[in-house]
Symmetry: C2
Subunit: 110 residues, 2 copies
DNA sequence: AGAATTAATCGTAATATTGCAATATTAAGT
DNA sequence: ACTTAATATTGCAATATTACGATTAATTCT
């Protein structure tokens, strides 16, 4: 085994899990925070911001892109990466919804 | 390699990554949703709710617990698991903060 | 006490992730 | 065309995750 049984879960559950998984690494959190902080997209120096080798950073960027958390386009010989706001909103709304439901709970045993 | 270099990142980055990682599996999302839905904590039948074997579910529960997303206490020969609202709030606030910062951005190249 | 019930743990196989050196690719500058 | 600069890909070793059968531990019921 070792492979996740995605086929047994709903599309929405898998979608949220994919986003969460992509953020389940401190380097990728750091990338998102950096992209948020610089208030711009062209970030050729993102490698210098992280304590990891260039291929490793490139791989993390790829995973964020695959998950739909960042968008990128070729911009000369540099790359323009941006956060996809919709993905962040999706997460915010998801956890917001859970919070609301939890707050409306009557029983709280633990 | 294969081990995450947590020591190079901030405590906050690691904390968010830990929470996100724990939710980075559809079964664990399904568990959280189930715990939210039943509006109670005693959920001995959680195994029947998931398309996975009992040891696998137990393992997922353990990971959610280690990440601080659920709390549990022994309750007879069943177990009482609850969502830890603070963890969900942490995530909600985190993504809310990013959303806000992104919305305030001037440039939007992508 | 003995049986039944429920959840955790152990052991293990299959697969995925992480990280990096080496190399390739791509585009800009000369 | 040649060099430089920036990012991507490949290949691989180390480690982590996922899943489950078998077993164990703890509690309840009779």
């Amino acid at each position: 085994m070792g492979a996740t049984k995605t086929e047994h879960f709903t599309g929405k559950q898998n979608a949220i899990a994919t986003l969460a998984k992509a953020l389940g690494h401190p380097a990728r959190i750091a990338i998102i925070e950096y992209l948020t902080r610089i208030d711009a997209c062209i970030c050729s120096d993102i490698v210098n911001e992280l304590p990891l080798a260039q291929p490793t950073v490139s791989q993390h960027l790829k995973e964020l892109k695959n998950a739909g958390l960042i968008k990128g386009s070729i911009e000369g010989n540099a790359i323009c990466y941006c956060i996809d706001e919709k993905a962040i909103e999706k997460l915010q709304n998801y956890f917001g919804g859970i919070s609301t439901k939890l707050a409306a709970r009557k029983d709280q045993c633990c």
